[in-house]
């Protein structure tokens, strides 16, 4: 057994030991467990969320973009770093308040409450599930590729092991104190990424020397316009790249859920600082490593392996094992969160809403298990037969979700006239246009990215259709009143704003009306 594989296995064993040990030591009963999160400090809160957000994309897709397009990849990184801030400023305050007023528990349910029709949920849930499948698929591929490299077994076998471990983790995570294993995984990810980055910069003689060497290969890679200046002046593509992980990210159901979640305000504020620090340290890393991989491993057949191969080239074997563990940490925590989100959508938003309103607890668990298993089987089949690139899949899924959902979420709180037909049209148009644009490869012909086109079309759809159907499908009066209330965002002293408990938003709005 190679040293790398040994370290990887030791890492997994350590995660299990930590998870079980913390769980037993805390002595928490089910009640504390269900209320989970209330006793977690800001560092654990922030880093466990970051470990779910940073996926295998960061280690494969981002490295690949750096390797093939140079500093152009930084447009994606900039969007990613700023995404959380844009999320909070555009959606955060109003959406938290409206979700409180409408009593929503899941993100899809929130859409149905705001746009009251079963069709809202019938359209939204499958789109969300399909995109989750794509994102999970990317995690499977990333895990399979990584294990293939470390273990030396064939890709289909490595993929099967990766999928098996991910599904097992999702099923059995209840036996572990997952908050703490996610926290440890986030630290391992950050250290792993920084380790490769520092070693890479050391190997190329520093940032300046590395840039000079890359310039000798292709000076265009040092610009933000891509290889051969392919994207120079192509603002449609660049804006699209910026939008993917900033605005598009808002479409992910698990991100919206976190907006609706109630957290202790004091923790949330400090957690935001930790999360921003993590992003600044972590996100640029893989793009830079990918870029300098051109100097260290110049003949890569598959650019997505740039970060892996650099690690293998410049780090000692045991360190490669640790870095590999960091990569698996990113993959597992993200896939786990997405699969659970899929289970929630399938059981709560589809099965309990449309098939069996009297769903028992046992049925809920079985529906969730089956959908997760189905996603795993489909994902394996696609990933084994004809695996697409991780970057392409993640960007595609985020683009479709952003196009389908962001205008609907934004109009929900910012525009009273947005109605059911408008929302349904917007979700369908956004999904169809972004998928069609991608499949027909219209980006290269028009210079406009699918994210930009999809969002413009879905915005036009919600505005146009809502206005055209105001008489036949007026927004219910109670919803209009709720939105009016949500829009009351007066000036609040900063010292008071930061410490508010959003769980009280609706109670405050109601009490304050008199």
């Amino acid at each position: 057994m190679s040293i790398q594989l040994t370290f990887l296995l030791v890492y997994f064993a350590a995660m299990v030991v930590i998870g079980v040990w913390v769980m037993r030591r805390s002595g928490a009963g089910p009640e504390d467990y269900l209320l989970g999160g209330r006793s977690l400090g800001p560092a654990v809160t922030a880093l466990r969320l970051q470990s779910s957000s940073m996926s295998g994309y960061m280690f494969l897709g981002a490295g690949s973009l750096g390797y093939t397009q140079g500093y152009f990849g930084m447009w994606y990184a900039l969007g990613d770093i700023g995404g959380g801030i844009i999320n909070l400023s555009i959606l955060g305050r109003r959406m938290r308040k409206l979700s409180q007023i409408l009593g929503s528990i899941t993100s899809i349910e929130y859409l149905e409450h705001r746009y009251p029709s079963k069709w809202t949920r019938l359209v939204a849930a499958p789109i969300a599930l399909a995109c989750i499948l794509f994102y999970v698929l990317a995690q499977f591929i990333a895990g399979g590729r990584g294990l293939e490299m470390v273990s030396g077994v064939s890709y289909p076998v490595a993929l099967a092991v990766a999928v098996g471990v991910i599904v097992l983790y999702t099923y059995l995570g209840g036996y572990l104190a997952v908050a703490y294993t996610d926290f440890v995984q986030a630290i391992v990810m950050l250290l792993g990424m920084l380790w490769i980055l520092i070693a890479t910069l050391w190997a190329v003689g520093g940032l300046g020397e590395g840039n000079r060497a890359v310039a000798e290969l292709d000076p265009n890679l040092l610009t933000m316009w891509g290889k051969d200046l392919a994207f120079q002046g192509e603002w449609g593509i660049i804006v699209g790249a910026l939008l993917v992980f900033s605005v598009g990210y808002m479409g992910w159901p698990h991100v919206v859920v976190s907006h609706m979640a109630m957290k202790r305000p004091s923790v949330a504020r400090s957690a935001g600082v930790y999360a921003l620090g993590f992003n600044i340290l972590f996100i640029p890393g893989p793009y830079l490593i990918g870029l300098f991989a051109l100097l260290l491993v110049p003949t890569l057949a598959d650019p997505e392996l740039a970060v892996f191969k650099v690690a293998e080239t410049i780090l000692p074997p045991f360190a490669v094992g640790i870095v590999m563990a960091a990569i698996m940490a990113a993959i597992m925590s993200t896939a786990d969160a997405l699969l659970l989100q899929a289970g929630t959508i399938a059981s709560q938003d589809i099965y309990a809403r449309f098939i069996n309103r009297g769903m028992s607890d046992g049925q809920m668990v079985w529906v969730s298990r089956l959908i997760i298993l189905a996603l795993a089987v489909i994902g394996y089949a696609v990933a084994a037969v004809d695996p697409p690139g991780v970057a392409a899949v993640v960007i595609f899924a985020t683009t479709v979700l952003g196009s389908a959902f962001v205008p609907v979420y934004v109009c929900a709180v910012w525009w009273k006239k947005a109605n059911v037909p408008g929302a349904i049209a917007s979700m369908l148009v956004g999904a169809v246009v972004s998928v069609g644009w991608e499949l027909a490869d219209l980006s290269s012909r028009t210079g406009l990215g699918p994210m930009l086109v999809g969002m413009v079309c879905s915005t036009l759809a919600i505005v146009g259709v809502s206005l055209a159907t105001q008489r036949s499908h007026p927004v219910p009066e109670r919803i209009r009143r709720a939105i009016e209330e949500t829009a009351k965002v007066g000036r609040i002293p900063a010292s008071l704003l930061a410490g508010q408990d959003s769980q009280l938003a609706a109670q405050a709005a109601i009490a304050g009306r008199e």
Partner: protein, 168 residues
């Protein structure tokens, strides 16, 4: 008003102190105790992950005026609503009023979603309703004060002391 209410564990003075800790220069004008209607449920919850440990009692509250359900800390003392509390209840704005049965469904839903996210899928949990209260009135302090030239109204949770500024 209904029959039972949570006893306010935060006094008027403590409510002001909670706000003044953040905004020391706020001057006091008025404080009113307002009661908000919830339905309350207690479920027996058992999950094999916890082995032989005793089944837990999980408390949920469902806002009758918005439908918002959440798992709460174990409840503090419940008291009969007295004459003095008459008239302090908030009025229904009609945004998303729900029935008691809907509240019961939402209570179950919130526990199930939390259980799925916390326990994952290895084993099934068992859930049994032990108590239900159609109406439980929760006390909140509605404080009015001045901060410089700005008139501020702040709602302070009468059970936890957390707050939210009333937008106006």
């Amino acid at each position: 008003m209904g029959q039972l209410a949570f006893k306010a564990s935060v006094t008027e003075e403590q409510a002001w102190q909670a706000i003044q800790a953040r905004a020391p220069r706020i001057s006091r004008i008025r404080a009113e105790l307002r009661h908000h209607p919830f339905s309350g449920f207690v479920h027996r919850f058992y999950h094999p992950v916890h082995g032989a440990s005793a089944p837990a009692r999980v408390h949920t509250l469902v806002d009758r005026l918005t439908g918002k359900a959440f798992i709460s800390e174990p409840w503090s003392e419940l008291v009969e609503v007295d004459e003095a509390s008459q008239g302090s209840s908030v009025s229904d704005p009609g945004w998303n009023t729900i029935t008691f049965e809907q509240a019961r469904e939402r209570s179950l839903q919130v526990i199930r979603v939390a259980a799925l996210r916390r326990y994952r899928l290895a084993r099934r949990h068992a859930l049994e309703e032990l108590e239900s209260h159609e109406l439980l009135w929760k006390p909140n302090w509605l404080l009015t004060g001045m901060l410089g030239q700005q008139r501020l109204r702040v709602l302070v949770d009468g059970l936890t002391g957390s707050y939210y500024v009333v937008e106006s």
